[in-house]
């Protein structure tokens, strides 16, 4: 083990960590919103849109993320009309291609998770809300959505971890995030273990923090399910 190489790789890999975190947060944030929208469409009566979302989820979950990234980054450039369109300044940048691919990917998985959450909301709760005159958006915002999210949160936590790992594929389209930097160090030094240990630990650290955030959110959302706290010390 070459400890000097290990210490020397910390800074470059830490520089890559910035990009990794940026990729994760941006695509997760957009993916979450889109997942809710597509899950709601799946449960609506808009027959054609429902079919479209089903095909989309099927196609994304059935193919590797790498294919999706390459289709967007390399594939779209094949068409002249894409290269002449106003979207080209975005689509020619590897960073935005990675963001688009990751968002499209996590939306499909997230959509199924949120749909499961929405389906777990019991009729009784919706009827109770209706009986006191709630309807439409108010019913969704106050009753359906919070219950669904609480139910979906553990599964969504797994998706967050998978997304952190998925950002490593951005290195295949020249983005120098953590895996990209580690790959360069491995190839140049012919000592793969050192860079692997550093990059691997950073990934584990990010994943650890992510699971803690999810756990904390879960804890915040389930206050009514916890037994009341007993104060052991008499206050008076």
């Amino acid at each position: 083990m070459d400890f000097r190489l290990m210490i020397e790789s910390i800074l470059p890999i830490l520089g890559g960590a910035r990009l990794t975190i940026l990729l994760v947060t941006l695509s997760l944030a957009m993916g979450f919103v889109l997942a809710i929208i597509t899950a709601l469409i799946r449960r609506s009566r808009l027959t054609w849109l429902v079919r479209l979302v089903r095909v989309y989820v099927f196609a994304i979950r059935g193919t590797p993320l790498l294919v999706q990234i390459f289709l967007i980054y390399y594939g779209l450039g094949q068409f002249l009309w894409v290269r002449e369109s106003f979207l080209w300044p975005v689509l020619e940048k590897p960073f935005w291609c990675a963001i688009i691919a990751l968002t499209i990917n996590t939306t499909a998985y997230g959509s199924e998770i949120i749909r499961g959450g929405l389906e777990s909301v019991s009729w009784g709760e919706i009827e109770a809300a209706k009986s006191i005159g709630m309807s439409g958006f108010l019913l969704f915002r106050r009753i359906v959505f919070p219950i669904a999210i609480r139910q979906a949160l553990p599964a969504y936590g797994n998706e967050v971890i998978l997304m952190v790992k998925a950002t490593s594929l951005a290195s295949t389209i020249t983005i120098m995030e953590m895996t990209g930097v580690a790959n360069v160090i491995m190839a140049e030094s012919y000592r793969p273990l050192e860079a692997f240990i550093i990059a691997g630990s950073f990934y584990l650290l990010i994943n650890f923090i992510m699971t803690r955030i999810i756990q904390f959110t879960e804890w915040r959302l389930s206050g009514h399910l916890r037994p009341p706290e007993l104060s052991l010390v008499a206050t008076h």
């Binding site: 790992k165 490593s168 793969p192």
Partner: protein, 233 residues
């Protein structure tokens, strides 16, 4: 369309051969992961504490570190590791690990970590009363394993194993970074020479979709078969 034909000008036969390679890599890795998964699950459920700690570290690393990083490690470091082990046994020659072996081992190690948890969960889902009942009528450990544990673990683990298989299948795409000619690598080569990347990556996506839908269908049938004795409401 001519590009996808099976002749000298088309890429049809190359893509077909690459699909076979994708299947070979994923089947080899999945079978190896089955062995790793069952053994590690048994270890995690054992009373041996140091073993449990080591296996906990393995499943955490295997599930928390990106697949691509693990593939790079084995690709660049596989030969070194094997030569180091060989030297301990007194062999000093040069050994090279090819892209196929590195890819299979990498995916098997990752998939094995997930399968360990699947099998562990399945064993824990068997009601304790059943094991006690088997012991109370005097079943030996072996018979208990054969008649009570295996048939139920098979049924309970099958949905999880189906997911593991699908991930293994999709992870083989990552092995293309080592130059192994599977679907993704072949699509990359074909789009480079034909300047039609969209077509070839779409074909790659279609091939993967075909493989995943067929296996999804197969696993649903298998679940029906293993669940044939279960009463449903």
């Amino acid at each position: 369309m001519e590009l996808l034909g099976f002749g000298a000008n088309g890429w049809g036969d190359e893509m077909a051969r690459a699909t076979l390679m994708t299947l070979t890599v994923s089947v080899c890795a999945f079978v190896l992961a089955l062995v790793i998964g069952t053994l590690c699950a048994a270890g995690k459920l054992s009373r041996h504490k140091p073993l449990r700690i080591v296996l906990d570290i393995y499943t955490t690393l295997g599930r928390g570190i990106p697949e691509l990083l693990i593939i790079y490690l084995l690709f660049f470091g596989g030969s070194g590791a094997v030569m180091f082990l060989a030297r301990l046994f007194g062999y000093h020659g040069y050994i090279e690990i090819n892209a196929f072996t590195a890819g299979v081992v990498a995916i098997a190690l990752i998939n094995g970590a997930y399968q360990t948890e699947v099998f562990r969960g399945a064993v824990l889902a068997i009601p304790r009363g059943q094991i006690e009942a088997a012991l109370s009528i005097g079943m030996s450990d072996r018979l208990l394993f054969q008649r009570v544990l295996v048939p139920q673990v098979l049924r309970l683990a099958l949905p999880g194993l189906g997911n593991c298989w699908l991930s293994a299948l999709k992870e083989t795409a990552l092995v293309s970074v080592t130059g192994l000619v599977e679907i993704m690598r072949q699509a990359y080569v074909a789009s480079g020479s034909s300047q039609k990347p969209f077509i070839f990556y779409s074909v790659a996506a279609g091939l993967f979709l075909l493989l995943t839908s067929i296996s999804g269908f197969g696993f649903r049938r298998a679940e029906q078969w293993t669940g044939r004795g279960v009463r449903r409401a």
